[in-house]
Subunit: 337 residues, 2 copies
Amino acid sequence: MSNLNDVAREAEVSIATVSRVINNSHVVNVATRTKVQDAIKKLDFHPNRVGRRLAKLKVKEGESKIIGLVLPDISNPFFVDVLKGVEDFAYDNEYAVITCNFAQDQRRGKLYLDILQSESIDGLLVAPVHGGDSKVIQLVKSGLPIVCIDRGLLDTNVDLVLANNHKGAFEAVSHLVKLGHKRIAFISGLIENPTSAERLNGYKSALQTHKIRFDAALVKYGNSMYESGYVLTEELLKAPAPPTALFTGNNLITLGALGKIHQMGLNIPKDIAIIGFDDMYWSISLNPPLTAVKQPGYDMGRYAVELLLRRIKDPVRPAVKVVFDTELKIRKSCGAV
Amino acid sequence: MSNLNDVAREAEVSIATVSRVINNSHVVNVATRTKVQDAIKKLDFHPNRVGRRLAKLKVKEGESKIIGLVLPDISNPFFVDVLKGVEDFAYDNEYAVITCNFAQDQRRGKLYLDILQSESIDGLLVAPVHGGDSKVIQLVKSGLPIVCIDRGLLDTNVDLVLANNHKGAFEAVSHLVKLGHKRIAFISGLIENPTSAERLNGYKSALQTHKIRFDAALVKYGNSMYESGYVLTEELLKAPAPPTALFTGNNLITLGALGKIHQMGLNIPKDIAIIGFDDMYWSISLNPPLTAVKQPGYDMGRYAVELLLRRIKDPVRPAVKVVFDTELKIRKSCGAV
DNA sequence: ATGAAAGCGCTAACAG
DNA sequence: CTGTTAGCGCTTTCAT
């Protein structure tokens, strides 16, 4: 691996000049620039990002061209959509992204945050476990540009990109009642997660709006993972007065519910209607095709990066909260009762 | 963010001593060590990984505690399994991993490789697009510890972790013929990918073993993505002499095929049996539950990291090729003909 | 327009 | 056992 010195020697200039060339400084003479560029090509030189980051540490402005992305659960297709959006937009703007998946493990999340911090990243995209995540709060206080995805931070002035969870849930449940359902169950994700709470609220609002009495026996609290969808669906379906419709709080819960329903030999939508929060691009591959609330994960990811880059350029601009609309994708999993 | 100097001043020692403490050098006096550790705690000091990486550049042995992972397609659940295995094992060994998803885009793959290289990583895990990937070959020649996942490199002495694609495909197709199928179609992933070629060979071998004539009209070549499963299934099913069974070359193709089959209103397995290469943990959530060839992606990921760490420690040990067995998960998607 | 030199945070000889 | 010092590759004043 060649370095600035090698190039400088080859081009017969100083390393400062080479540095200027690779940073597109306007002050370099055209002839010199060409000479340097030739040398760069000849030696197949790529500036070492580590050296660059370290040098940049001195100046205020972050310019290491690397951002961090901390995701709670990469098994969840929603987050892989987000990841794709993030990567695409970052790629277009010549940023590299370090992705960390903490698999719902708080200790691990904290470790990754520490690592990212000590990697001198320019900014951070994060979906905090809960609104009071002290490590993340400390990071924003330290001045690191941050934007939150999917979940915000309490009492902290930070950009946030999320979907309209309340409305999404409201529409889903309303759809179900319009179809004639009265006993609509809800399986919530981890309730500490603001997103889950919002969805639960949307569910309750819809019930209320349509004059259906809320029945606590019809809502179960899981942990946002496949397994909880699986076991809680069984509890619901084997109860004395089972629901006729099921609204699942996220992707993985939906899949778990589907697993249990098929295993019990029940027919969708005849025996039980189901509508999931979170769509998947292969939802039509399910049988029957799944009716679902779609969050635009990809777009959310893209936009989050856009906000982050703006924040990096302008650390003092006021924080914004961007709410993406959800869309109810009506397919075949919830016929009339 | 405090640094070595701050800690040294606080503990009233030199920065060298602090460095020794954070690197667990055995030569430090116990009293001094305690003093330093107190200072570290007090200042909430975390060693800057960038400075460390740069300093380490001098010495031969990689010790920056960071590895790269370059994946062709994070949409594919198989690769997220691999990613999880990689992350878990790396985490257990205090390595951070930079994950890059090049989304089947060669240019992007090359860029990421460049970035990773200039990040001075200790080693690299990669699933090369094809066996002749020149950038990866150049990297191994440069001495960077590398292990390949899922696909190897031509004429290059490099560790490789993969599944027994031939056997997996062979067993799947054999299962189908035992069920009485004679017209078994195969939708291949990108054929430049050695993995796809192996699976195709397994398919052919099984046919031959069971004395079924190979019919070129029954095999379609896609690009390993959802869309190709979708359209090629339609071609197959609308052909004059459609197959009675379908073997799909990967996860995404399976999902695409399922989408088309349901859209055409066909019954699985009555109208068309299907068996997919790649299992998903939620395969039982499909209706009917999918019969599939399972590759142990998670274990492959873990083992790949283990090999990589060994390679980092011992750059000259001979390369190994580790083949993981596949497992045929028989469920309900391919009844007797 | 270009070069010389200081310094980013850290490690690793080398002295003592 | 501990301190001093010379870099690692790069950016950025400050001169020229």
